[in-house]
Symmetry: C2
Subunit: 346 residues, 2 copies
DNA sequence: TGTTGTTACTAACACGTGTTACTTGTGGAG
DNA sequence: CTCCACAAGTAACACGTGTTAGTAACAACA
C-alpha cells in the first residue's frame, strides 16, 4: 500500500495559500508578483511533503507528454546482432533528456508492423524517432503530412522526412577505395542485409561507385547478400570461395557479418590478408580484437542518436531545422585485416 | 498543425448517445446493458472518427499509467560493451507489452544516480525493472518498502527485493569444472568487472568453488580484474602471461573481455587451446565465430528479460509471486577454444 | 474625493477520461 | 391499478494540473 501522493492541493493547504499560488511558484512563472516570503514557504512545504506534480495531470492540461517514442522497425534478428544500436539509443536518451524528455521504447512487433501508431494516436508521445524505416511504411508518411514531429534514423526514398544518417555511400566507397589502393582489383562484396533495406542499397552503391571510378568492371558473381548475422556472412563467403577465380579481397558491409566471412576464409585454409584481405563496416567495439584485427569504417553510433534526438527536440519545440536531412561523416580505420601484421612491439 | 484529435465527446455526439455510453461500449464493460444496435453504432463512429482514448485522461482517472520503467544502472562504458543487453530489453518489452504495458527507458545518469526516482515520483510508471543494481542504492530499498512494484535484474545482498538473475555461481563453476575435466590444474581467472558488482563476485565465487571441489589450491596471482571491455581483457591477460609459471587455461567471465584475452595470447605467440585453453561467459552471438570459436556459458538473455517483465506484471496486478527470486539455469557451450580443432568436414 | 496603478493573491475553467448513482420507459405479475 | 423488475441510458463527480480573468487592499497622485 504505497503512501498517498501529495497533491498541489495538499501543499496549498499546508502553506495556507491557494493551489494557484503553488502552481505559479513551483513553475517559476514570471510576469506575476508573489511575495518572497510566500514563495519560500511554498517551496519549503513542497519539499517537506515530497511533492512532485503528477505527469498526467500536467500533460492533460498542457497537451505535452514530454516523451518521445523510439521505434525500432528492424526485425528481432537484426536487433539481436546489431552491436551498436545500444550506443545509438544512449545517444538519443542523453540528447533528449537534457531537454526534459523521456524515451519510450517500441520495438517492432512482426505481427503488428504499425503498432507504434498507438503511441501517437493515444497521445503517449510528442514525437518519434524511427530507426530502420521501411519503404512500404505508409503510416509514417501520414504522420509526417499531419505535422507530427518525426525524425528518421536512416533514409527513405521519395519523401522529404527529416532524417539523420551516415554517409554510407561514401563510407562504402572509402572502404572499397582502400582495397583498390592496396592493389586489389578483384574485390568481392557481401551486403549487410537484404537489399530491401536502404542501408544495404547505399553500401552496395558505394562499392559500385568506387569500382567504376577505378575502371574495374563489376562482376555480379562476386556480390552476395548477408543478413545481419555472422552465420549469413559465413555462408556468403563460402559461396564466394567456391568460385573458379577467387577474389583477393572482400568488403563486408557489417562487422558482425564480416567475422563470419573471416571464419569461412580460415576454414578454407586461406590467410587474411595475404590471400584475401577483408574490410568491414561499423567498427563495433570488438573489431580491433578480431583475428586479425578488422579494418573497417567507423560509424559514429552515439552521435547518430544524439543528433537525431537534437533534431526531434527542435521539431517538437517548433524551431526550424537548419537542414531537413543530416549525413554524418565516417572514417576508415585501417587494421591488419588489410595491412598485414605489424612488426611485433617489445 | 496536426488535425484535432477526436474525443469521446465527439464520438458521443456523432452517434447520438452520451459520453458515458461511449466509454461503456468501448471498454466492454460487462454487467451493464446496452442495446446491440447502439453498441455497434458507437463502435462504427469511433472507427470512422479514428478515436483513440487519450492516455493521460485515462491515466488520471484510473491511476494507472500502463508503463514500466527500465532503469539501466550500469555505466555507459559497461552498456556500450554489453552485447546482450539488447536481447534482455527485447525480452522485457515483449513480455510486458503482451499485458498492455509500455517500456520507458532510463539509462543511469552519472551526475544524477537517482534520477530514475523521478519516474516514480511523477507517477510516470507503474513499476520498475532495475538492471545492474548497486549495493549503495538506498532509494531502491525505500521504494520497495513503500510497496512500489520493483524487480531487479541481478541481485542485492541483505534485502528481499524480487529479482531475476542467472545462476552465475553455478555457471562459473561449470565453466571451471569443464577445464578441470579436460585435465587443467593451473587455471587463471579474469573477472568481467570490478568486484563492486555482484555479478563479478558471483562468477569469482563459482570459479573458487570449482577449484576447491577438485582440491586445487587457489593462486591469487592467477586472478585479474577485467572491466567490461576487450581492452581490459587484453591487459589482464598480458599480466598473466608475464608470470614465471604460465597457466594452461583461463576462464574469462565475459565473452567481450575474453576476445581481448585471446588476442593477448596470440600476440604472445601461444596457441589456443594447445598452450592455453579459454572459456568465456555470456555466449554472445559472435562467440562461435571467434578464432578459435569460444567455449562459453550460455546466458539466456532474452529469457531473463522476459521473466523479469512477467514478474513485474504480476506485482503490478497485485498477484502474488510464487517465488521472490528466480535463478535461471545456464549451460555450457563447448567449442574449439577448449576442445581443439575438430576434424575438417568435407 | 476620485482616479489610477501596483502588489498579492484566488476563483473558476479546461483538459479527457472511467465510474457510480440515478432516471426513464416498458412489460409482466399480483 | 399497483408494484416490481429490468433494460437502456445518462448526469454528475473525480482525477491533478496550468492558466486566464478577476478581486481586494493599499498607495500615489491630481
Amino acid at each position: 500500500m504505497p503512501a498517498k501522493r501529495a497533491t498541489s492541493f495538499d501543499v496549498a493547504r499546508e502553506a495556507g495559500v491557494s493551489r494557484t499560488t503553488v502552481s505559479l511558484v513551483l513553475n517559476n512563472v514570471t510576469n506575476i508578483s508573489i511575495n518572497d516570503a510566500t514563495r519560500q514557504r511554498v517551496v519549503e512545504v513542497a519539499k517537506k511533503l515530497n511533492y512532485h506534480p503528477d505527469a498526467s495531470g500536467r500533460k492533460l492540461v498542457t497537451g505535452k507528454s514530454s516523451t518521445v517514442g523510439l521505434v525500432l522497425q528492424q526485425s528481432a534478428d537484426q536487433i539481436f546482432s546489431d552491436a551498436f544500436l545500444l550506443q545509438v539509443m544512449l545517444g538519443i536518451e542523453q540528447s533528449v533528456s537534457q531537454c526534459g524528455f523521456h524515451v519510450l521504447l517500441k520495438p517492432n512487433d512482426p505481427m503488428h508492423p504499425q503498432a507504434y501508431a498507438q503511441l501517437v494516436s493515444e497521445n503517449l508521445v510528442d514525437g518519434i524517432i524511427l530507426s530502420g524505416p521501411r519503404q512500404d511504411d505508409e503510416e509514417i508518411r501520414k504522420f509526417y503530412r499531419e505535422g507530427f514531429p518525426i525524425v528518421l534514423m536512416g533514409q527513405l526514398n521519395d519523401c522529404s522526412l527529416p532524417f539523420v544518417d551516415v554517409n554510407a555511400v561514401e563510407g562504402a566507397a572509402t572502404a572499397t577505395r582502400h582495397l583498390i589502393q592496396l592493389g586489389h582489383r578483384r574485390i568481392a562484396f557481401i551486403t549487410n542485409a537484404s537489399l530491401k533495406y536502404t542501408s544495404a542499397q547505399q553500401r552496395r552503391q558505394g562499392y559500385l561507385n568506387a569500382l567504376a571510378e577505378a575502371g574495374i568492371p563489376t562482376d555480379e558473381s562476386l556480390i552476395r547478400q548477408g543478413a545481419y548475422t555472422s552465420e549469413s556472412g559465413y555462408q556468403a563467403m563460402q559461396q564466394i570461395l567456391q568460385l573458379a577465380e577467387l577474389p583477393t579481397a572482400v568488403f563486408v558491409a557489417s562487422d558482425v557479418v564480416a567475422i563470419g566471412a573471416m571464419q569461412a576464409i580460415r576454414h578454407a585454409g586461406r590467410r587474411i590478408p595475404e590471400d584475401i584481405a577483408v574490410v568491414g563496416f561499423d567498427d563495433i567495439p570488438m573489431a580491433g580484437y578480431f583475428d586479425p584485427p578488422l579494418s573497417t569504417i567507423r560509424l559514429p553510433a552515439f552521435r547518430i542518436g544524439w543528433t537525431a534526438g537534437e533534431q526531434l527536440v527542435r521539431l517538437m519545440l517548433n524551431k526550424p531545422l537548419e537542414q531537413s536531412g543530416i549525413l554524418l561523416g565516417i572514417e576508415l580505420v585501417a587494421r591488419e585485416s588489410t595491412l598485414g601484421r605489424k612488426p611485433k612491439e617489445l
